[in-house]
Structure formats: structure tokens, C-alpha cells
Symmetry: C2
Subunit: 345 residues, 2 copies
């Protein structure tokens, strides 16, 4: 998969497409057990973007150990999270396996295979201790891939003398200390610095936007990089978009139809109160699809990361619901906050 043209915050570049090869545990036994239990004819497999290229090999391995009359289907739909289940494939298969994310909501129908990383995390934590962490209190967060090492990291920090603050967050999150691109409730803790351990900058940039008063130290054990999150570029883009949208008359209000990305109430409220707002429903929110609509600005009630990270690629300003309220004068500019997503579906 070519990564050259991806921007820093590109949703496809979430640390799961790795520079070095590593082994994942696809938990094929669990899948085979489910197929036997349900006497399944069809198995559906869904991988996030960075792991799609592994799909055919996983299908090969599965077909070797499954009864011959079982059909294995791979989802070709884009997938950026557990909010983004291929519901078409799920409904039409007896066993549906979602790889690479922890459950956003449990269901008998879905097998979630988290794909825990086997990368060593402690060297990165040590480097963070040596070079960036200050004081005594530190928050600790990570992504689903490294949750298997969470207690190890916590103990390591405690052994080094830190008071480690962690939190379960809300029901969109499965694990204590887990972050999603759209939800950092696990970082609502009493510490001025947060250590994020994980691949890529996608998650920690959201974390830093949601918590602009905290120092976010990024310890990336996958690429062996230590940095401090810098949101300046993104924040400038947000203010620029809001400013541009202040002159807008016609607003396209996007309701995202992905199972875990719908905020109907927010979309409906805007349209009900603005005769120049138009409700547009879609699954993938892309610049191409919106170019057909002659609007002055858009409000995205779906995935906040499309707004903040891909925003500049759209032909017209793309706002979060709060940014819309600022643009039409209902809230002051300095109230601007990162748009987070709560609840499941």
C-alpha cells in the first residue's frame, strides 16, 4: 500500500500499516469454533485499511481449516474503526469477524479480533521518562493494539516513581486507558501530562486537541519515535474553516449512515432551525461526493476526524457541529473545542 501521498492526520495512517513486518494473532481457532457452533455457510472478514492487504492470506489460512463448503467473503468497504462495521456483510454472513478494533458494542453475531501487537513497549516508555516526562503525575493511554501491555506499562511507570492516572472513559471504549480517534474520555484525569504509547500520530493528535492544556508525550514503539504532540497546524485550520464559514448562507449538514457514526439529533436540530441547511445522508464522507453539492459550507455530524484531519481537502469549509454554532454566532470563537463522539449505536 502506497503511503507517500498520505497527510499526517490521514485516517488511513493510524499506525496499523507498519514499517516492519510483524506477526498478528488472528485467533483463527475462535473463528473455526464459531463456524462449527453456528453450522455456518458464510464467513465475513473485515479489516481496517492498514491491514486489508493481509485479508487474502487470512482467508487462505481459514479456508484450509474450515469445511470446504464454507464461503469466506472479505469486505472491500473502507473501514476506520469499530464504529464502521460492514453491516451489509454482517447481515449476510453467519459469522462476521471484525479485525483490528476492540468491541464498540458486543453482539453475538460479531467476533472482534483485536490483533494485539507483540512490539515491546517498555523501551519507548523509558525513553519518554528520560526525555519528556516531568513531575510526578502522568496519565497513561494507548490504543486497542497495545492494551495487552497496559498493566506492564503502568507498573513500569510506577516503578520509576510516577503516580499513574488512568480511567475507563465512557461506553464507547472497551478498556481502561484506551483511546479512539474520536473519544479521549479515558484521558479526563488529574495530571498535566499524558503519555500516549502507540503507533502513529493520529490518536495523540486528537488527544492533544481534546486536551489543549495538557502535554501529550507520544511514545511510538512501532516506529521507535518520541515526540510531543503539536496541534498548531490543525488548530489554525479549524479557525480558518470557521472564519470562512461565517459568510456562508447554504449549509450541507451531513448525517453519516455508518453504524457507529450517526448523530441524528444534532443533524436534525441544525436543519430544523435553519432554512438554508440541507440534510445530506451518506456513508463515506469524501471531497468527491460533496463536490456535487453547491453549498457554501458543510457541517459533519459523523466522524470528527474527517472534519479535522481531511477538512482542507473539501472544496468548501467543513465544520463540526460546534464550529457551525460558532460560525452562525451562537457561540463565541474562543469556545472552540475538539469534537468528540460518545455512546455506541
Amino acid at each position: 500500500m502506497s503511503q507517500e501521498s498520505y497527510s499526517e492526520g490521514d485516517l488511513r495512517n493510524t499506525g496499523m500499516s507498519l514499517k516492519h513486518d510483524r506477526e498478528w494473532d488472528y485467533e483463527l481457532d475462535r473463528i473455526v469454533d464459531a463456524v462449527e457452533e453456528r453450522d455456518a455457510d458464510k464467513v465475513g472478514l473485515q479489516f481496517p485499511e492498514g491491514l486489508k492487504r493481509r485479508g487474502p492470506r487470512v482467508a487462505d489460512d481459514l479456508r484450509e481449516i474450515l469445511p470446504e463448503d464454507v464461503t469466506v467473503c472479505i469486505s472491500g468497504q473502507p473501514c476506520y474503526g469499530a464504529c464502521d462495521l460492514d453491516t451489509y456483510l454482517m447481515r449476510r454472513t453467519d459469522v462476521f469477524v471484525h479485525f483490528g478494533h476492540s468491541p464498540m458494542k458486543e453482539s453475538d453475531k460479531i467476533i472482534y479480533v483485536p490483533l494485539f501487537s507483540n512490539v515491546e513497549v517498555l523501551p519507548s516508555v523509558d525513553r519518554a521518562i528520560d526525555e519528556e516526562l516531568e513531575g510526578e503525575d502522568v496519565g497513561l493511554v494507548t490504543t486497542a493494539q497495545h492494551m495487552n501491555r497496559f498493566e506492564e506499562m503502568r507498573e513500569h511507570l510506577e516503578d520509576a516513581g510516577y503516580t499513574v492516572h488512568t480511567r475507563k472513559g465512557d461506553d464507547r471504549l472497551t478498556h481502561e486507558g484506551q483511546v479512539l480517534g474520536c473519544n479521549y474520555a479515558s484521558a479526563d484525569i488529574d495530571a498535566d501530562q499524558i503519555l500516549y504509547v502507540g503507533g502513529g500520530k493520529f490518536h495523540p493528535l486528537g488527544l492533544a486537541m481534546e486536551h489543549p492544556d495538557k502535554k501529550v508525550v507520544i511514545a511510538d514503539p512501532v516506529n521507535n519515535v518520541l515526540t510531543v504532540a503539536d496541534t498548531e497546524k490543525f488548530m489554525k485550520q479549524r479557525y480558518a474553516s470557521v472564519h470562512k464559514a461565517m459568510d456562508a448562507e447554504k449549509f450541507g449538514v451531513i448525517f453519516c449512515t455508518k453504524i457507529g457514526q450517526g448523530r441524528w439529533d444534532q443533524a436534525e436540530e441544525i436543519v430544523d432551525n435553519n432554512d438554508n441547511a440541507y440534510l445530506i445522508t451518506m456513508d463515506e464522507v469524501t471531497p468527491d461526493r460533496l463536490r456535487n453539492f453547491d453549498m457554501d459550507a458543510f457541517v459533519n455530524t459523523g466522524c470528527p476526524r474527517i472534519t479535522t484531519d481531511d477538512g482542507p481537502q473539501f472544496h468548501k469549509p467543513m465544520l463540526t457541529p460546534q464550529e457551525y454554532r460558532i460560525a452562525i454566532g451562537e457561540e463565541p470563537l474562543d469556545a472552540l473545542e475538539f469534537d468528540t463522539f460518545h455512546g455506541t449505536w
Copy 2:
């Protein structure tokens, strides 16, 4: 909408995105009647790509005459035919209106608004008579937009001395003489020349590929152009793709999940008989989505026009089901035919 980068056969460029403005009849009264009858709260509107920019104005007009508590939603999903209903929006609205295509299958839930053109067609027919039509027998076909003028065209040709051959085609088609991008059963008539009257080259190019032995005269009353269909470029591309795929080991077999584009039996048959074939399910079949899959070639059981028209944009050869059989040696190269789509859903 920018059209500059579209290729000749681009699915978005089907003659519905017009160079001159014209009035369509959106049949708002029918929609209002349906809302009243069903006591509807939500109305969904779906437009094909070339007409999407009109969506907000139609929504405006509707909102003015509908009760205030009715919510109007516009589909932001790509749409290339009546095969391509936004089933998500359809299921979640009380009245669902599909503009720009004739019914592929009637349903109480769906209001199809064909958007008949008010462009004069006879001057184009006259020009075809003067410059390109030969002999006595001529087939006559057109698209949904010009069906309201079909009898007028037929009579005009008969008055000019022609024996006009027309046919209803199969159940994918609504009208006698109608063609779709994927179905030319209405042109299976006893004449060596066919007059296609309509905008764009998308439909007549498919017609000429499906009927390589017939002369296809294109009378475009929208852009006032008269040409004869030339499929050479497309046919060369087809042969080149098949040749390249002859060396392929791993085949990605696409099952399209769009309501009217699924050919499950064909997809399953290929996968059942080839251990190196992988079933991939998706709605929009785009180069971006397939780039993640490390295959040597793809077989598209969905919309044939994606294969023939957009084929060269994919990173690996994209084949029709028959082209796949040719590539693996099950059929001879000279058996190659245009892939057509029959039945509804």
C-alpha cells in the same frame, strides 16, 4: 461540477450533466400526495450524479409546500442508475424519491421521477437521416430521459420511409426501445443499423460493444452532435486486460452489494472453482478501494461499465466474468463479448 478530468466513458458523464440549462419536471405534486397519503415524517431524495447539484433547490421547493414537520433528506451516496438505490435512506424514510431513472422494479415505497427531457429530438433525427442512415431498416433506441418522445421519433422515421424496428427488451427495462448502460436487449432487432437518440456517448458505446456487427448512429439532441459509435479504444483495452490477466495467479472477485448490481451466483462459482480466487464484497468499486488488495487481477461481477469504462484506472487488470473465463483458458479469446446485466433484484 468539474467535468474536465472525466474520461469519455466516465460513468458520471452520461449526458445528464448538461451543457445548457433546462427545465425538468420534478413532479412535486406526486411527492406531496404521497406524503399526505402516508402521513410521512421523512422524505428521502436521491439524484444521479449529474443532477445532484439540483437537489437542494428541489428540497427548497418541496419544503415550501410540505407540512413544516416533514424532514427532507438528500442522499449523498453516488448514484448511477435505478440499479443503485440508496437502500439505507429508502428504509429510513416514509417516502423515497428516485430521480432521473425509470423503475427497474416497481415498489410502493419508491416514487420514480424519470425527469423527461424537453429537448427537441426531431432535428437530430433529421440530421441522422441526412448524413448517416442507410438502407430501409433501422433500429431505434433511447434513454429514459427521451422516452416521452419515442413515438414521435418512430413516426418521423416512418414518414421518412424507414421500417423502424423496436423491442421491449427484458425485465430490467421499463420501456420499449429503452437502453441502459448495462442492457441493450431492446436492440436485439433485425436491422444492421441502430439510431440512438440521446445525450452523451456512454449508452451508445455500450450498445456498439454489445452489437459489434451493427452500425450505431448517435444523434445527440442535447449537445447537437451526430457521430457513429467507435468502440476501438475500448475493445483494445479489453483485449489488453485479458492478456495481462492470463499471467495472474490471485484473483479478487468482486461481489457488488448495490441492490441491482449483485450477481452472487457468478461470483460464487468463480471462487468455488479457484483456490486462488478471493471474494471481495463492496458497494462502490473504485481503484482506491482495491489498491489495498494484493491481487494479480480482479473480476467484477457488478456493474459492467466499471469494468469496461473505468478498467484502465485500476492498478491491476479488471475483468468481466467472461473475460476471466477467457484469461484462465476456459473460453477462446475470440468469444469475447460485452458484459450485459439482466434481471432486477
